[in-house]
Amino acid sequence: MARPVRPRLSRSPRLSRPGVVAGFVLLALLCLPLADLAVAGHDPWAALARMGQGFLSPDFSAIEQIARAVALTVAFAVAGVALGGAAGLVLAPFYRLRPVRWLAIALRSVHELFWALLLLQVLGISVWTGVLAIALPYAGIFAKVLSEILDEADPRPGLWLGPRVDPLTRFLWARAPLAVPEMATYALYRLECGLRSSAVLGFVGLPTLGYQLDTFFRQGDYGAAGAVMAIYIALIAGVRVWMRPRLVVLWLGFAGVMLGSVTSPPMAQGALWRFLSSDIVPAPLRQGDPAALLPWLWDLATVAILPGLAATLIVAQLALVLAGAVAFAAQALIVPRVTGRVGAALGHLVLVILRSFPEYMLAYLFLQVWGPSMLPAILALGLHNGAIIGHLLGRQATGLALRPDAPRGLTLWGWELAPRLFAPFVALCLYRWEIIIRESAIMGILGIATLGFYLDDAIGELRMDRAVVILAATGLVTVGIDALSRAIRARLGAGDLQQHAARPGDVPGQASIC
């Protein structure tokens, strides 16, 4: 479909791609001495060997427990995505209104895990904590993407209706039906993301796969942990087989039944009201001492936010460069003309595994090996995001029209693929930057000193007022990085990133990337 050419940003100086890459690498080098990369485990290689052995010989004897965790993972994902999707659908037609847009931005700037930590305070370990932790941020994402899908729908039937038709009729007859197929595809893609989110929510105590994994690791039961991982990969890889549009009602019913079977400890009455009216009010205001507000904020900023922010940026910077390096190599790995058919198949396998696991879960695994430092987080973020970018680039490389006598192997990569894919490579890295920042903050919950660490800490001490300010700061940082990434991308020139690459799920048959 023809789309209007976006006017180039007026007279902003253009940046060169190699220059931008060099700048990011230089910044990463400067960050290196500041990063805590110590290996804390006493014998990481033995731990790695035990883990590898567990994964290669998965132990399915605890299958009943695992099956229930799988069912609940699916149930939380289905319910959360359905609720978030419905809310997003209601918001989408009004997305151009500023309050709606801001609400959506605020909802999605807070990560699912952070939402879960907050909701745990209000609702306890309950079904609604898990469902809302997925539904709230997803509502913000759905609102944005569905509004884009609606905007892109063929305008001609709506124009045909003429000026006298009321807006609701125009929307329901000549806009919504045109957008439905793409919306359904996007919802399926979101469900895959929801499955990852749902699994990860287990790490903060909800009864999903992450919880099982954590339990087995604590017990040193690597075989059972291996079984969880194997089942998890099968679940994600097969989502297009078991989730069919015509089975939606069935799955919703299943989710309802499964979630209904979860018993949760009762929360004290009025927890929500106490949370909103008292807990999140800054302590000086609560104690009737407004003059102390500034010192309180200053203390919070210097003790928690700034150190957390610095660690978040360091982790993200190193992870971004690692992701870039992984992607740069991986883009060639899955092209048969470069690595041969067997090599490409193996490359695909590795990338699929790295893509399937959420960053958080990978980091959790690495943490078991190398102990708590920035290293597991950087590795997890770098490998996962690198695999995603590499996968997207590799697919583009496989689709390139090459001349019949083009070389093969490394020569092809060096002379044809790498130069041609350099522009989308840089654009995709910049696009993932915001996601890496967001995930770096999350890594704090694992005990790495990024923003999430201070947030978790504040929540653990039941100082919700501090937690909310840290959360807001985290959201602002992500929004800021997003804006910076956009500005850099705009100055690199248009046309380097296909519109759809930002929403990979709407390409039919494409493995999903969250």
Binding site: R156, L159, D166, W173
Partner: protein, 218 residues
């Protein structure tokens, strides 16, 4: 009924049609002839704008049909009258058309020979069938004037004559861009020949001769 007085028509930059003077009287049936790119579509959209500005009820058959592929043929036909009703009534019709509405839409589908396809989604129909859905939608809308941009281009040649006859009976005034000279002769009272953004001729259909056709397409 419709009048363009020396308008320059086009989309930004150089006009596709310059200094257009055209007056269409009620009861006239105008056929626009000319090769693709000669300005027929531009002229039609200008006429559509003029008709809307005058508050005429126009049935439009755009070249690209502008149907909603996911909805059934019947609902696409019902779209012809949405602006006669309020939002609630239209919502009800979308969920389940009332019996009289359904009967009326089915009658219009019957006029274009599509009764069996009434409840099929338009995306599953052939190009010719889609065009006939667009015609049925225009018939369902009704009005003083039909404006059509190659409304018969994709239908079976054996049907196009009969469909032109249906349109002739349904609308007192018509302006259609046509590619088939024989149909134009049978349908129109007046023919306008366009070539490279200029009016080559504008005459009663009886005066259309082979030389003029040759000049137009040659």
């Amino acid at each position: 009924m419709l009048r363009l007085d020396g308008a320059d028509l086009g989309y930004g930059g150089a006009p596709v049609l310059a200094d257009v003077r055209l007056h269409v009287a009620p009861g006239e049936r105008v056929a626009l002839l000319g090769r693709s790119g000669s300005g027929k579509s531009t002229l039609l959209s200008a006429l559509h704008g003029a008709a809307q500005a005058r508050g005429l009820r126009v049935a439009l058959v755009p070249q690209d049909a502008a149907l909603v592929p996911q909805l059934s043929a019947l609902r696409n036909v019902l779209m012809g009258r949405l602006d006669d009703h309020g939002a609630w009534r239209n919502l009800r019709t979308l969920v389940r058309p009332s019996a009289p509405d359904r009967a009326a839409a089915l009658a219009d589908l019957a006029r274009v020979g599509l009764t069996p396809e009434a409840d099929r989604a338009v995306e599953g129909l052939s190009g010719g069938q889609k065009q006939r859905v667009a015609l049925a939608r225009a018939l369902h809308r009704g009005g003083e004037l039909i404006l059509g941009d190659e409304p018969l281009s994709a239908v079976d040649p054996r049907q196009s004559g009969a469909l032109a006859e249906v349109l002739r009976a349904a609308f007192p005034t018509a302006i259609l861009a046509l590619h088939d000279v024989a149909i134009a002769r049978a349908f129109a009272t007046r023919v306008i020949g366009l070539r490279q953004g200029r009016f080559l001729f504008d005459l009663p259909v009886g005066d259309l001769d082979a030389t003029r056709i040759e000049a137009l397409y040659g």
